[in-house]
Every structure is written in structure tokens, then in C-alpha cells.
């Protein structure tokens, strides 16, 4: 007999998400007329259970199940971000516009499965598990991106995302194969110190394997040379799904990247520092500069999310001690402000008329003052102006990078975010200071769930912006507890 024991602490979130996802699939099959709100309530209960479980286990000793799933406080922190992102996405999806075409049981089941993939990625103690999580996440998102089946843009989005994602997965898998070939193990903990020559450089197949892994992560994060899918996919996907992709799946990829980078201690090797440095600079500049030319707000937000991935990469580069807490804070802040921005677009749109271009929001403040103020707040936060969460997030990341000695990187990133100011503020100017255009949207009616989600984001953006220290302290303590 092989001795097998399950560590329930590590496995419970997986069981919750899988079980609820399957339950939703069965409910939708047996009771096709079930209320959307009932399904949403089930999903939200499950996500609340995840949050409760996470808080219960916060600060406990790291646990592992067969070395495959690793539950430390990094997992817990990311699990909080994923649950938040998924819950807000679910609330946003219950609006008029999506109601006209969504099949809710399948849609929510896919959101849960995507969250499951994110959790597995953040908790992975093994490269195979990381790949499994990546695939569960990606396949759910391919389907979610194309959920508006009759819309040409949605089909384009799903297809582009699927084809490029499949290639990226292949790169990722080949990278794992190379690393396995070089070290004889796929366990992330066993990789530490493997294949390093006396000079501290990686030898043999290892660097090639790592580069391939980086390509896979780069695709998921939409870093510069691998970012081309993002605008098309965000444009075609339903707005809540685009928000989910930009926040949750990005956080999951950063969680995986941090685990791999920590195993090899990439920060101690100059070539890898330079590579990440270059990626961050190119991503920030490309995202911000191309966003200047966008008239479509969803595409603009897509390029803005590319730029933000660049800022977060600075947090990765700053190392575990300095960078990890600021990266987590940035991800939390970004989750609220980005979902908020996409949420306002969802809130304003109707089934007949989706809010897409600058013309649609021209002079919007005259007729929809509250949504305009919210949109302006989220955009100002994304631009990084105090007293919002976005400013504090950038501040922490930049300070961490300066402490780790990347002064020039921070200066370039500051220039990038100054370029970014233009396109964020342009939307605000168009909304508040111009006469009402012809395309202004009609009222979409009562949408209580979207309103709740927006209120949460609005509150959190200011809460994180004005009282950031308690969160940062929590994240800093967490870093010291990492194994």
C-alpha cells in the first residue's frame, strides 16, 4: 500500500469551486427556467465560503497536498483577490444588457471553473499543477470570451484568444519539459538551486525552459510582444468577462510567475533582471502610447490593462521582500478600479446599444451624473492620481523598485503614466465638458446588482487610497511567513 493522505486545508477551495460548478451545470440542465438570481446567489455563497475559508486559515503553517497544492499566505492573499474579482463579475453580469443573451447556468459555471484554475495556479507546488491551472483558466475564458455567439466581434475574440492561447500553452508545456529534462523534477520546491553553475548562472537546458515559461506567462499577462490579442478580445467579450480577464487571470499569472521566479531566485541573476526590465519598459510604453489613439473605450481599457501589467512587472522585479507586498496591493487596487470602469460601461449599456466609443459618452454628465462621477473616479484611479487606490498602488510599487535599485525603470514608468494621463482624462473631459452628442444612451432601467458592485468598487477605491497601510502591513507580514 502506498501511504496517501489528503491535506484538506489545501484541497477544500478546489472542492468548493468544482462542486458548485458541477451543481450549476446540473441545475441548468434539469431546471432550464431557474431564476438567474438563484444561480447568482449560489455562486456568491460559494465565493463567500472561499473567502471565509481563506480568512480562517490565514497565518496558519503552510500546508501541502502531495506536493501538488501548496497553501501558504500567498495562496490565501491571491485567493481573496480571485474571489473578489469573480464575485464582482457575477454581480455585473446580472444587468439588462447581458440578460438578453446569456445562458446563466453555463456562464456562472464557467466563471467558477475559471476561478478554480486561478486558485490552482496560485497554489501550485508543481509545474504540472501550474499548467493544469493555466489550462482550466484559459479554456473557461475562451468560452466566456465568445459568449455572445451571434456577435461577430465575440466570435473573433474567442477565436483569436483560443488560437494564440493554445500556442502560448504549447510554449509553456515545452518549457516545463525542458526544465524537467534539466533537473529531473517538476516540483517547484525541488528546483531551487538546481542547474546553477558556481558563477550563479543557469546552465544547460534550464534557461531555455525558463524563457519558454516566460512566454507562456507573458501571453496570459499581455506583456509587450505577446499583447496583441488583448484589445480584440476585450472588445468582443462581454464587459464583465473582460473585467474578469483583466483582473483575475492577470493576478493568477503573476502568482505563478512569482512562484517560479522565487524557486530560481531570478533576482540574483543579471541577465534575467535585464530581460524583465526590458519587458516592463516596453510593456508600459507600448500600452500607454497605443492607448492614446483609441476611440473605443473598451479597447482603450485593454491597452491600459497592458500598461498596468507593466507596472506590476516592476513589482515582480523589485523582489520578494520589497516587491511582493506592493504587487499584491497593486493587484487588489487594480481589481477594484478596473472592474469598476468596465462596470460603468455595463451599467450604461442597454441590450440594443452597447457603450463603446467616446461619442457615446459625450456630455454624459448632464443626463447621468452619478455614473459619470463613478467613471471619472475609476479612470482617475487607473491614471494614478491621489487620493485613489491607483495612486497608492503605483506609489508602493515604484518605492519598492527604487529600494531595490531600479531608479531608471521607475523614471521611465513615471513618464509612461504621464502619457497615460491624457487618454484617461480625455474620457472625463468628453463626459463633463462637452455638449451632449446624438448617441447618448437612454436609461437602462433599474440594475440593483450592478449598482451594488459599483458601490463596492467605488468605496474600495477610496478606502484603499486613503487608508492603505493596514492592507500593506497584512501583505508585508505575509511575505515573512513564506516558506
Amino acid at each position: 500500500m502506498i501511504e496517501l493522505s489528503i491535506n484538506w486545508a489545501a484541497v477544500t477551495p478546489v472542492l468548493i469551486l468544482t462542486g458548485l460548478g458541477l451543481l450549476l451545470v446540473l441545475l441548468g440542465t434539469f431546471f432550464p427556467r431557474i431564476y438567474d438570481e438563484t444561480l447568482a446567489a449560489i455562486v456568491l455563497t460559494g465565493l463567500a465560503a472561499m473567502v471565509f475559508f481563506t480568512l480562517q486559515n490565514w497565518g496558519e503553517n503552510p500546508a501541502t497536498s502531495f506536493g501538488m497544492l501548496l497553501t501558504d499566505d500567498a495562496t490565501h492573499a491571491f485567493s481573496l483577490i480571485f474571489s473578489l474579482s469573480a464575485a464582482l463579475t457575477v454581480l455585473l453580469s446580472l444587468n439588462q444588457q447581458e440578460r438578453s443573451y446569456l445562458l446563466y447556468s453555463d456562464y456562472f459555471a464557467l466563471v467558477l471553473f475559471a476561478t478554480l484554475g486561478m486558485y490552482i495556479m496560485a497554489a501550485s507546488g508543481d509545474l504540472i499543477m501550474l499548467f493544469l491551472g493555466l489550462e482550466v483558466l484559459s479554456i473557461s475564458l475562451y468560452v466566456l470570451a465568445g459568449f455572445r455567439r451571434s456577435n461577430g466581434f465575440a466570435i473573433e475574440a474567442a477565436f483569436k484568444y483560443f488560437l494564440l492561447g493554445a500556442f502560448a500553452s504549447a510554449f509553456f508545456l515545452l518549457g516545463i519539459a525542458f526544465i524537467f529534462g534539466a533537473t529531473g523534477s517538476t516540483q517547484i520546491a525541488a528546483l531551487a538551486g538546481e542547474g546553477q553553475a558556481a558563477s550563479g548562472m543557469l546552465t544547460g537546458l534550464l534557461p531555455y525552459g525558463l524563457i519558454l515559461l516566460l512566454v507562456g506567462f507573458g501571453f496570459k499577462l499581455a506583456l509587450f510582444p505577446f499583447h496583441l490579442w488583448a484589445p480584440d478580445v476585450y472588445q468582443g467579450a462581454p464587459s464583465p468577462v473582460a473585467a474578469f480577464m483583466a483582473t483575475g487571470s492577470k493576478a493568477a499569472a503573476f502568482a505563478g510567475l512569482m512562484r517560479v521566479a522565487a524557486a530560481f531566485d531570478l533576482w540574483s541573476m543579471v541577465p534575467w533582471q535585464n530581460l524583465l526590465w526590458l519587458l516592463a519598459v516596453l510593456t508600459i510604453l507600448a500600452g500607454n502610447i497605443v492607448a492614446l489613439r483609441q476611440n473605443n473605450i473598451k479597447r482603450m481599457l485593454a491597452y491600459s490593462s497592458i500598461a498596468h501589467a507593466g507596472y506590476m512587472l516592476i513589482g515582480v522585479l523589485a523582489g520578494i521582500e520589497n516587491g511582493y507586498p506592493s504587487l499584491l496591493f497593486y493587484l487588489l487596487a487594480y481589481t477594484f478600479m478596473n472592474i469598476g470602469a468596465f462596470g460603468v460601461l455595463t451599467w450604461l449599456g442597454t441590450a440594443e446599444h452597447e457603450i463603446l466609443t467616446l461619442d457615446d459618452v459625450r456630455g454624459l454628465a448632464r443626463i447621468r451624473p452619478y455614473s459619470s462621477v463613478m467613471m471619472a473616479t475609476f479612470l482617475i484611479s487607473l491614471a494614478g492620481i491621489p487620493p485613489t487606490a491607483g495612486f497608492i498602488g503605483k506609489y508602493f510599487v515604484f518605492i519598492a523598485a527604487v529600494r531595490s535599485g531600479y531608479l531608471w525603470l521607475v523614471i521611465i514608468a513615471l513618464i509612461g503614466s504621464m502619457i497615460g494621463l491624457y487618454y484617461y482624462l480625455r474620457v472625463t473631459v468628453v463626459m463633463f465638458m462637452q455638449a451632449r452628442g446624438e448617441n447618448s444612451p437612454e436609461s437602462a432601467g433599474h440594475q440593483p446588482f450592478v449598482a451594488i458592485a459599483l458601490a463596492v468598487c467605488f468605496f474600495a477605491v477610496f478606502n484603499l487610497g486613503l487608508f492603505p497601510s493596514r492592507w500593506l502591513v497584512v501583505f508585508q507580514e505575509l511575505v515573512h511567513l513564506l516558506p
Binding site: M1, I2, L4, T18, L22, V25, L26, T29
Partner: protein, 117 residues
Amino acid sequence: MNPLIDTLILVAVAAAVVLVFWGVNFLLGPRSSGVVKETPFETGQVPLTPPGHRLTVRFYLIAILFVVFDVELIFLFPWAVVFNKLGLFGLIEMLAFIGVLFIGLFYAWKRGALEWE
């Protein structure tokens, strides 16, 4: 001796056999050509349609459902080999796995994926 040598010898012998048959055929075989010989060989029948016509897209659902069972088998065979070592734990794990697959199949069935309209 390196175990790879055996494999290499096998590869060499196989290649030699193929080359000998090709060579003999090339040297001794008769060469004639005609309309009948140029037509595609379809189990002795005269071909009914030109090859390369389009398949109906409905087959993709069948292919996807096939993958469900295919993956199930990939996991079932190794599991059966080590069944005694894994014991009850392995049995429960495998039942859970098959249960999830079953829900998937049930879903496809109820949503009409098995109907051929």
C-alpha cells in the same frame, strides 16, 4: 552494451528491408500507365466522389464527446495496473473522476448534443 544499440540495429534492418524492396521493384518491375491506374484506389471500387470533399460540422461534437471517453481510458488503464497498491483511496478517486465525466456526458446528452438533426 548500450541498450540503444539494439534499437539502432532494428532501425537499420528495417530501413534496409524497405530499401531492398524498393530497389528490386525499381529494377525488375514493369512500367505501364493508364487512366485506370491513375484513379485513386478505394478498396477495389470505382470512386464515387472526388476526395477532399467537406465534412459536415456536426462531426465536431462527436469528436469532442469521443475525447471524454478517450481521456477516461487513458487514466483507467494505469489505474487498473496499480489498483492493489492504491486500494480504497484509488477506488474513490477514480469513482470521483468518472462521476465528473459522467456529469459532462449527461450535460451533453440533455442539451441535445447527441441528436443528429
